[in-house]
């Protein structure tokens, strides 16, 4: 019973806030940032670069996978992921996409350091890591794509609360 009362109170609270907003000239709630086409393209581009990195690595004979042969690609891709993260951090109402980019960067750096310390990268781990990155970038793209609102929804959310 107290729970039902609490929910009712919350709904009434929302109702009065909405009425107050209307009195001030109309408003709509906005809890997630709007779709960013540049961010979406960046996810696809960096994801493709990571997949190509693993493709090249797996095509390289295991005894030729010394870290120094891959260091340039590691640095380029790390800075690309960092750019993705910075873009996401700069956007308001974008907590989840920022966390996704942080996770991608964390794992990229982890695998780079492991490659550096072992000075090789075995097929077994590389295949699993490649597949994981594909899923991570797919999740990042899916999160961004979800923010693409229909035209009528876009109008309704042009004002932030």
């Amino acid at each position: 019973m107290p729970m039902i009362r609490a929910v009712s109170n919350r709904l009434l609270h929302f109702f009065w806030i909405a009425l107050f907003c209307l009195a001030l000239g109309g408003c709509a709630v906005k809890w997630v940032d709007t779709y960013d086409a540049v961010a979406f393209e960046e996810i696809l581009t960096v994801g493709k670069a990571v997949d190509r990195f693993y493709g090249n690595l797996l095509e390289t004979p295991a005894d030729e996978r010394a870290y120094r042969h891959f260091v340039v690609q590691y640095v380029i891709i790390e800075s690309d992921i960092q750019s993705m993260l910075t873009r996401n951090r700069a956007r308001a109402l974008n907590e989840e996409s920022t966390q996704i980019a942080e996770s991608i960067l964390k794992l990229w750096v982890k695998y780079k350091e492991a490659h550096k310390s072992r000075n090789t990268y075995a097929d077994g781990g590389a295949k699993l890591d490649r597949h994981r990155f594909n899923r991570l970038f797919a999740a990042a793209a899916s999160a961004e794509q979800a923010k693409k609102l229909k035209p009528d929804e876009r109008d309704a959310t042009k004002d932030s609360e």
Binding site: A28, W31, E96, L128, D129, A156
Partner: protein, 107 residues
């Protein structure tokens, strides 16, 4: 001025409910897909270990990374859930706006 708060409130709840009913299956499907993909990834790790492609230390590291991967997949679903809630709230506000607008025209 004709403005029945109770009736408007019911309309707002109905509008929110309709939107959530339409949006929620998409969020549920996202969560189900996240767990289905996670299961496939865990199977791939187990297979790699059984086939001798990775050792115990690598398997432990892979399992730890899968926690991160599942978190990321669920974060994408969280975005969809928040958007569903946002659409529901805005549908309710639209009902209220229409009711206020109609009442003002009658004044």
């Amino acid at each position: 001025m004709s403005f029945d708060i109770g009736k408007v409130f019911e309309g707002m709840l109905a509008a929110s409910g309709d939107v959530l009913s339409a949006e929620w299956p998409g969020v549920q499907a996202c969560v189900k897909a996240a767990y289905r993909d996670e299961l496939a990834a865990l199977e791939a790790i187990a297979t790699a270990r059984l086939d001798g492609e990775i050792d115990d230390a690598e398997m432990q590291s892979q399992l730890a990374d899968e926690k991160e991967a599942l978190k990321v997949a669920l974060l994408a679903c969280k975005v969809k859930g928040k958007l569903a809630a946002q659409k529901a709230a805005n549908a309710a506000i639209e009902v209220l706006a229409d009711a206020v607008g109609a009442a003002l025209k009658l004044v």
